[in-house]
């Protein structure tokens, strides 16, 4: 956990993150705040001065907005600060989906993808024969102006 954000800033950011990527309680998929995406954003901001400026401007405007953080609140930020919002949204998606546990919850392997990959069964030659039969039955579908064969048999 980094200290880039003050406690109130962090709380505000977490509330916004929960709006950006909401949870799916039925499938136990956490929202972006629960997935600690704010830590990822803080690290990005520390590594990239341009992004730090953008997220600071974004949070500063958010702090000045009245009312509870809900969809309308976030929509207002999107309208008022389109560039900063877009940068925060992009980094939020990156931070959230780079977590192996989140990947697994949306149906993709949690593991580093090499060397294990995924086991995928190969279709049998008989199956492929059957599937391609209508395509083969039509015969050639190419024009060959320089050789025999093809649609017009070389003509």
């Amino acid at each position: 956990m980094t200290n880039l954000f003050s406690d109130p800033e962090r709380a505000l950011l977490d509330a916004i993150l929960a709006e950006l990527i909401p949870a799916n309680p039925d499938r136990r998929i956490p929202n972006a705040s629960e997935a600690e995406t704010a830590d990822y954003l803080a690290n990005q901001a520390l590594a990239n001065a341009g992004f730090q400026e953008q997220i600071r401007a974004f949070l500063s405007r958010a702090q000045s907005l009245a009312g509870e953080v809900n969809t309308d609140f976030v929509r207002q930020l999107e309208t008022e600060l389109p560039e900063e919002f877009s940068a925060v949204l992009t980094e939020t998606y990156k931070g959230y989906y780079s977590r192996p546990d989140i990947r697994a919850k949306v149906g993709v392997g949690a593991h580093p993808i090499h060397p294990d990959g995924y086991p995928v069964a190969r279709e049998t030659p008989e199956f492929m024969d059957q599937l391609t039969a209508p395509v083969r039955a039509r015969g050639p579908i190419y024009r060959d102006p320089t050789g025999p064969g093809g649609l017009n048999n070389g003509k």
Partner: protein
């Protein structure tokens, strides 16, 4: 600083540079390859990391303007609707390419005679066929023989699984009576030649850590280096030098790993820098003899830039399509609309490539080749839960026609880290291409519905994918007429008799398939022609 002269100097260690070096091995000439990037060890491929997807947006982006690594050169694409993408290092763009491996078709070499558009090539399919076979044997190609879209040939290895996604889409094509076939891929479906088969990880753009993908870092280069070809990395060629009296190339000036400018002399110079890097280098090689750039008496260096503009259409199905399981390259390819049909209102045609779906982060950020994140909030949750896992789709890959105004020039201000002018791309989509993409979107939607999709998602705009500049062709085209082409029918410059070009810039037209199997077959053909004509090579 000067180095010992060599017989053959190849600039660029990518797909084409490796292939021609291999072809020339048997001549026992001294071969040197200068490459601006470096070797990349398998252990450094991001797919071994837990957060592997992040690399796609940073140091392993396909876009050199995003990666911004020392070996990259920036590309000014402000006047283009597509930006070129690549990899600069040993293996070139075969490091991050997807290994989709279709050949051009016989009609692609005769578009002017057959359809009144583009140009006829000075070579034909049947001349190249043995070189396709030769290259496939070195590269390791998987696929199914008997494809009625081509003269007969059979890939050496059985097809990779087309998976649930491919089977579903194939059934849709069958329902409509349209062509489809499992895609040829330069990806191993079984262990082969000491290399491991594909593990279906789906991260081919992040470098294949299994060694299953036929990048030249795994295929040609290990053989070449063992055989004594010198590969000098971190060596960026600034300019090709010319003898003003004889008009022959004498070698190059390059920035070496030590940061110094070196001269390298050679009897024969072969340029293999891809369709943007090659015209850039020639245009930067100015002399009294060639004030507008080397080998540019025709004025065609940099002109006729062609990409394969593309757009995507997806269907949402009832069951998970498991699109992330398997190599990213095409699972099946429909060439039903490849040949010209005047009734369609455009010349030439397109392919429908069934891309597999991407991983969650890439999907959330808008998909591969696009930067347009999906919505946030409740809609985000809905899409990720009820759309993303159920997707299967096609990309419509259009044949671009050569148009002179689509071009690569030198940017007057932007430079790379060595101060060499960067390329500037001026490119807009032709009306023919636009009509083709529209037609393709509608046909793709028909297949998806026939395959059982509940609904079809299209972008609803005319935009093409921004990072679809994977294939860069036409900028030093081949032809018989020195007035309208840069190299002859076997890759030799019309103007400079010991200068050859072997990358996609020599394509006369683009076809509607991925180009690398043809680029390498052509490079082997050029190599063969050099060997055949060796006694009179410079006449």
């Amino acid at each position: 600083m000067a180095n010992e002269p060599v017989d053959v100097l190849i600039v660029g260690a990518g797909a084409s540079g490796a292939a021609i070096a291999w072809s020339l091995l048997e001549t026992r000439m001294r071969i040197l390859c200068l490459e601006q990037g470096d070797h990349l060890a398998d252990k450094d491929f991001p797919s071994r990391r837990e957060d592997y997807e992040l690399a796609r947006y940073g140091e392993f982006s396909c876009d050199p303007n995003v990666r911004n690594l020392k070996q990259d050169y920036p590309i000014n694409s402000k006047d283009s609707c597509i930006t070129p993408v690549n990899w600069n290092g040993v293996g070139g763009s075969t490091i991050n390419f997807l290994g989709h491996w279709p050949r051009l078709r016989p009609s692609d070499f005769r578009t002017r005679s057959l359809d009144g558009v583009g140009e006829d090539w000075p070579v034909d399919y049947h001349t190249l066929a043995p070189f396709y076979d030769m290259n496939d044997a070195v590269t390791g190609v998987s696929g199914l023989g008997g494809n009625p879209a081509y003269p007969d040939y059979t890939p050496a290895l059985p097809p990779i699984p087309i998976g649930k996604l491919g089977q579903t889409l194939a059934k849709g094509c069958n329902e409509l009576g349209w062509h489809w076939w499992p895609s040829d891929v330069s990806i191993l479906s079984q262990d082969h030649d000491g290399r491991q088969k594909c593990v279906n990880a789906g991260t081919c753009d992040l470098g294949c850590a299994a060694g299953a993908k036929g990048g030249t870092n795994f295929t040609y280069w290990p053989m070449l280096e063992n055989a004594g070809v010198e590969l000098r990395t971190n060596s960026r060629v600034r300019e090709i030098l010319i003898d003003e009296d004889t008009g022959f190339a004498t070698g190059v000036l390059y920035h070496g790993a030590d940061g110094q400018l070196h001269e390298q002399k050679a009897e024969l110079v072969i340029v293999a820098c891809n369709g943007v890097g090659t015209p850039r280098l020639l245009l930067n090689s100015k002399s009294k003899l060639f004030p507008d750039g080397l080998a540019n008496r025709s004025g065609m260096v940099g002109k006729n830039l062609m990409f394969h503009p593309l757009t995507g259409v997806s269907g949402v199905f009832d069951e998970p399509m498991k699109g992330h399981e398997g190599p990213m390259a095409c699972s099946i390819l429909s060439q039903e609309f490849y040949e010209s049909d005047p009734a369609r209102g455009f010349a030439r045609g397109y392919g429908l490539h069934s891309g597999r779906s991407t991983t969650p982060m890439t999907y959330a950020l808008g998909g591969y080749g696009i930067d347009n994140p999906i919505p946030w909030g409740a809609e985000h949750r809905e899409i990720m839960d009820t759309v993303y896992p159920y997707l299967a789709g096609f990309t419509v890959v259009a044949e671009d026609l050569p148009e002179e105004h689509n071009c690569v020039t030198l940017d007057p201000e932007l430079t790379d880290s060595d101060g060499i002018p960067a390329p500037k791309i001026t490119y807009k989509l032709g009306d023919n291409t636009r009509a083709m993409l529209k037609h393709g979107e509608a046909r793709a939607a028909e297949i998806l519905m026939a395959a059982g999709a509940k609904r079809v998602l299209t972008k609803g705009t005319d935009d093409v994918w921004w990072r679809a500049g994977w294939h860069q062709m036409g900028t030093c085209r081949m032809g018989n007429d020195p007035e309208t082409s840069v190299v002859n029918g076997w890759g030799r410059s019309h103007d400079v008799k010991n200068l050859f070009i072997v990358d996609g810039s020599i394509f006369a037209t683009a076809g509607a398939v991925n180009p690398t199997s043809t680029i390498q077959a052509l490079a082997l053909y050029v190599g063969d022609s050099i060997k055949t004509n060796i006694a009179t090579l410079f006449d």
